[in-house]
């Protein structure tokens, strides 16, 4: 079966594109998205996205949407496992796609989740070699994030509001901040939920396009494109995207520092 694409739309027309489904960030249940959608406003039988942890009020609000699920929701990509519990308790048969932020870095973890969900999206801070090993060992197909501004951190704090209030500056969302030593830039996006840090460059993971996966996730919400169809044509034809990054695909992280005085 051909791989399918899940596309988080940007500010563009939502035209039907072959082999693609839109993934709609759900209003009131996301952080750091430039646009979100109410369940009423999206087409029937859609995929919806909940990219953050939900507190006890939000989880109650989420449960109020359940009557609309059979009609509106074909599948859900989610971070909070409370959603899975609710879907199971209510016997709602929607496709469950767990995308825990930085949560799935091994086939063991993936398989642990795959006992309860239909598929998972692998973490985006692991190497290409690690991804390839995982793909060989998972018990069901898993998904890969292959395009978009990599999300690196999210907070419940409204960090841009706090910054502007502290210094009495005019409030400005979507600020670019640059870490002083590494010069690494981040795009900071804030909303009522909190704050998300993204890479300012787009991640290009097309190196995986031939892999047999459940879904390729493409995040266009910060992209300035007018047509998803044109974008996908360019994407699949191998067009170069300026200011792109391969993220951690070829960059293995460490976690133990060498002993003082240098590595031995």
């Amino acid at each position: 079966m051909k791989n399918r694409f899940l596309i988080i739309p940007g500010k563009c027309t939502l035209e039907k594109v072959s082999n693609c489904d839109f993934l709609f960030p759900l209003q009131g249940f996301c952080v750091g998205m430039s646009q979100t959608f109410s369940l009423e406003s999206i087409p029937d039988c859609s995929y919806v996205y909940v990219n953050c942890l939900l507190d006890s009020i939000q989880i109650e609000e989420f449960q109020k949407l359940l009557p609309l699920f059979p009609k509106k929701v074909k599948g859900i990509v989610f971070e909070d496992l409370g959603i899975l519990n609710i879907l199971q308790e209510n016997h709602l048969h929607v496709e469950t796609i767990f995308y825990g932020t930085h949560a799935i870095c091994s086939s063991y973890t993936a398989n642990a989740f795959l006992q309860d969900v239909d598929t998972v999206i692998l973490s985006n801070d692991i190497t290409k070699e690690e991804i390839e090993k995982i793909l060989q060992k998972v018990t069901k197909k898993v998904g890969l994030y292959i395009f978009g501004h990599l999300p690196y951190m999210y907070s419940r704090r409204t960090l841009l509001t706090n910054y502007s209030k502290h210094y009495s500056l005019d409030y400005k969302n979507q600020r670019i901040v640059k870490e002083q030593f590494s010069k690494q830039e981040f795009l900071v996006v804030e909303d009522a939920y909190g704050t998300m840090f993204y890479d300012t460059r787009v991640f290009d993971g097309r190196v995986f396009l031939e892999k047999d996966v459940s879904y390729f996730l493409i995040d266009l919400h910060l992209e300035n494109i007018s047509s998803v169809k044109n974008f996908m044509d360019d994407f699949l034809r191998g067009k170069d995207f300026p200011n792109s990054t391969d993220g951690f695909l070829y960059r293995k992280t460490i976690y133990r520092l060498p002993p003082k005085g240098g590595a031995k």
Binding site: D55, S56, G82, A103, T109, D125, Y154, Y167, R175, I254
Partner: protein
């Protein structure tokens, strides 16, 4: 069950934490723990620590809370079995694979879900309860309502951080360290990039450093809404910090449980905690979302604390002399105070100092030097001498 849970970076800290009133400690082994660059515990250390704790009727939990990569799994199963054999009371885990593995292995130790999983609602808690988790360390972002709802709907043991450093991000949802320093935050290498400063297109630097957490004024309410375990952060902290913080929370909890807590106690221990901290603190998310007042704007703003003057090694009842290992400079004429787990804090003016040759000296100015002070009140090994903080009867 109400439990005071302390961090312990090594065996010495474990003993101090338990002596100063912790009911349990959490420690990291040499693998699979989120403080990869701390000293941590070998299996032999763990064995000794567990024996020590169990002799006191207390518990030891071991963090196995990294997010595992493919190559990290090797040895995990044997390690978990070994922890079980040693008698560790619980493991604190965040990776679902470890939860399932612990259950499959039929270990007798409990599985506690780490705050790295950032549970905020009752449904997420129920998911993990089904998996076999006995206790959840809630997200630091959980507020009083979240805690109450989770308790009501799950009946699970709930553990909440009450004191110490905060991440800016949800725990486990941050790889800024990976990006900026190549150190994997979710495997114990976090470089705390959220305490760095950032340039923007406007002149003031952007910073997001959180002030610390301090819940001493809310312990009673936390008990009321169902929190079972009160957790202090700080496996990298020293014995003075651990002794001071743990003793403050021990006294507060005991007074709550015996209905003898006064406003004076609350103010006094808040002042003690503020003094020992190297950052300002706040209740953070418990009542409402934090604002700009709960964070710093110039990156790290920390002060070192030199209140810890000496550690009591022994007390000579006959000679009425206390043997002290120096930790910070003190001299004749200084007004200091002694505190310990089994005594009321009292102040003392130093009028004589002897070195280990019995010679009178004016100052104790060498780290770890051994000195003797004449003192009538009996002291015990592991009591602590510190700078006099403030009078108990002064206006707090």
């Amino acid at each position: 069950m109400i439990e005071l849970l302390a961090p312990a970076g090594d065996l010495e800290k474990l003993k101090f934490a338990l002596l100063y009133g912790a009911d349990a400690v959490y420690v990291g082994g040499q693998n699979y723990s989120l403080r990869a660059n701390a000293k941590n515990f070998s299996l032999e250390d763990l064995h000794e620590g567990v024996l020590y704790a169990h002799l006191l009727g207390k518990k030891v939990y071991v963090t196995v809370n990294i997010i595992f990569h493919e190559d990290d799994i090797f040895g995990l199963e044997d390690y978990l079995k070994e922890l079980d054999k040693i008698g560790v009371d619980a493991i604190i885990v965040s990776d679902l694979y470890v939860v399932r593995l612990a259950v499959i292995l039929g270990l007798s130790l409990e599985v506690h879900l780490s705050t790295q999983a950032s549970v905020l609602n009752e449904n997420a808690a129920l998911f993990y309860k089904e998996m076999g988790v006995k206790r959840i360390v809630l997200a630091r972002e959980a507020n009083v309502r979240d805690i109450q709802k989770i308790k009501e709907k799950t009946g699970l043991d709930l553990e909440c951080f009450v004191h110490g450093a905060m991440c800016t991000s949800f725990s486990g949802r941050c790889v800024l360290s990976n990006v900026v320093t190549n150190r994997d935050a979710n495997r114990g290498g976090c470089a705390q990039v959220c305490r760095f400063t950032f340039d923007t297109d406007e002149s003031p630097c952007f910073s997001m450093t959180s002030k610390d957490l301090n819940m001493i004024s809310y312990i009673e309410e936390m008990i009321h809404v169902g929190v079972n375990s009160f957790k202090v952060e700080g496996r990298m902290r020293g014995i003075y910090y651990i002794a001071t913080v743990i003793l403050a929370y021990r006294r507060i909890i005991d007074k709550i449980l015996t209905h003898s807590l006064t406003d004076f106690d609350k103010k006094y221990y808040l002042k003690v905690l503020n003094r020992v901290a190297n950052r300002e603190s706040a209740p953070q998310f418990f009542k409402e979302l934090p604002t700009e007042k709960e964070q710093y704007f110039l990156g790290r703003e920390e002060v070192s604390n030199q209140d810890f003057l000496g550690l009591v090694l022994e007390y000579d009842e006959k000679a009425k002399k206390v043997k002290i290992e120096q930790r910070n400079y003190f001299k004749i004429g200084d007004v200091v105070e002694f505190f310990g787990p089994d005594m009321e804090t009292f102040s003392y003016t130093i009028h004589k100092i002897e070195n280990d040759l019995g010679e009178s000296i004016e100052v104790a100015n060498h780290p770890n030097m051994i000195v003797y002070l004449p003192i009538d009140k009996p002291l015990k090994k592991f009591d602590i001498m510190r700078v006099k903080l403030f009078d108990k009867d002064e206006d707090l």
